[in-house]
Amino acid sequence: MPAEPIMELLGVDKYFGNLAAVNQITLAFEEGEFFTLVGPSGSGKTTLLRMLAGMDKPTRGDILLRGERVNDRPANWRPTCMVFQSLALFPHMTVGGNVEYPLKCRGTPPSERKERAVRCLELSHLPISYYDRPVTTCSGGERQRVALARALAFDPEILFFDEPLSAIDYRLRKTLEKEIKDIQRETKKTFVYITHSLEEAMVMSDRIGVMRDGGLAQIGSPHEIYSNPVNRFVCEFMGEVNSIAVTRGNGGELWCESMGAAITPPSSVETSFRQGTLMIRPENMRLVNPDEGRSTNVFSGELFNEYVLGSRIQYQIRCKNDTFLVERLREAGLPKSGDQVSFGWNPEDSMLFPE
């Protein structure tokens, strides 16, 4: 029997006036998992998180914590804790004061408080010497760590994160992403993280929920969501993708109007549609050697732009009225901008979404 979920949402709605910020969400968080909610701004992620933390009440539906309904239980009575987007550190306190605050509220004796605060500082990679520093003298990354230490000091059953890394520069963000993930593994706590950055979601999560217009578009492991998106929205949201508008002929063949060519579809495809979009990830596109003699899904075009992405390189190729992105490893002897190239893809690597 699978373990009881730590937190469950049953048909949760949140209306602001007539606007449904969160719309009929049913979802369960497993004990000890790292769950990330991703979605564009305005998709309802923060509203959902605020309801989970007890800062807002759902309009309809139930929120269960270990099977018990907690809709009306305020934030200070829930064993959960949130790391805010603004971090919300107490500017008039020292680092130690901030980290100890949840323990102070609980009436923990001072000596015990300090002991625990020091342990939490260590866990979030802050030197103990920071204990007496005013939090206003800390840098952005250090504040991030203070906020994390403060949440850990609370010892919550679930830790919520509201896009805490969005204001941090790329390199530090990468480091902190890994550290947050490590802490999750070490503490075995349930982490629910929200972000609009799919990269962050992919690196850290056990499961991802993709949100759109207040609803959940798809839930699954990072791999599932990236490789088998359920619809065009998820597919486009999870990464760069080439899309081609196609029409299905009577014989089942696909025809691409803009390129004036027939296209071989993936083998497992439903047959009850006329219009659709075929999507292929840039890393599944290949440059084809014209001598290879392959003919399915091979086109030629002009290479008119190249982007170096570290170890990989991305080409922009113009073919008739369409532009394609092709990504591959960087090595010697690659074509240059202005060259005529042939490119193509394996039909099984393409995804077809009927309109």
Partner: protein
């Protein structure tokens, strides 16, 4: 042109002129208070401290000083208390008629004070309230509490409200959030609001004139003596009154400096 020597000299003289226009009268008052003669003649021929001796031994002035001080502190305490909650209501909550209420509340600030004083006197009379320093406290509150609310509101809008939410999320009760987070963060606004209230009340004449009845505040005493029976005790009291204001400012600044120091420890 702006960096020519002439321009810079002109700018400096202009500044000096403005400053002297502001402060020389204060100096003259100070000089007038130590002139031996009963009437003010300039230049002062003989100096004497007797008017200060008279001032300090005058029961009337003693009473006036106590009345002014009591009124100022009552006004400051009540207006700061009202203002803290008013500011939080503005900065943290949304309610119907919020902006209308704000405008209505601020209107008395723009009334000519003598009109406001008269209006309040008529109002008190019709309710049968006896004119006294307590009535003055009320009258000054009508004018000062909105100003203090504005000052504290600026502070309340000035910090990230999510810190209060974060404290709640970390397990703090409403009272703990108020005590540990809200009050310390509103602190600078509370200190300035209190100082403003004391200073505005201390120097206020028109509202006190209409509402204090038999009680006499320092500005009222000064006015009374100017109308009938000038003695150099008038400038002496005036000068002392300025000193009290300066003292209040100094206390306020040192409080601010002290709290700033604590932050940077």
């Amino acid at each position: 042109m702006f960096d020519s020597v002439l321009y810079r000299r002109l700018a400096k003289s202009y500044l000096a002129l403005i400053l002297s226009l502001m402060y020389v009268p204060m100096l003259i008052v100070a000089l007038a208070s130590i002139s031996k003669s009963r009437f003010f003649v300039f230049p002062v021929r003989r100096y004497d401290m007797k008017w200060y001796e008279n001032t300090f031994s005058s029961l009337q002035i003693h009473d006036g000083f106590l009345t002014s001080l009591t009124v100022a502190f009552c006004v400051a305490l009540i207006s700061v208390t009202l203002a803290v909650f008013g500011a939080l209501a503005y900065a943290r909550h949304d309610w119907r008629g919020k902006s209308l209420f704000q405008q209505i509340l601020l209107v008395p600030v723009f009334f000519p004070q003598s009109v406001l004083g008269l209006a309040l006197q008529l109002w008190f009379n019709s309710f049968g309230v006896v004119m006294s320093w307590e009535a003055t406290v009320f009258a000054q509150l009508v004018w000062i509490a909105p100003i203090v609310t504005l000052i504290i509101s600026i502070q309340a809008f000035g910090y990230d409200a999510s810190v209060e939410e974060a404290a709640t999320d970390l397990g703090a009760s409403r009272w703990q959030v108020f005590r540990d987070i809200t009050i310390p963060l509103l602190g600078p606004g509370i200190v300035s609001g209190f100082m403003f209230a004391v200073l505005l009340s201390w120097g206020n004449f028109p509202l006190a004139y209409f509402t204090s009845g038999a009680d006499v505040t320092i500005p009222e005493w000064l006015y009374g003596k100017m109308i009938g029976g000038y003695t150099p005790m008038v400038p002496a009291v005036g000068f002392l009154s300025v000193l009290v204001g300066a003292l209040a400012l100094a206390i306020g600044f040192s409080l601010k400096a002290f709290s700033g120091q604590k932050d940077n420890k």
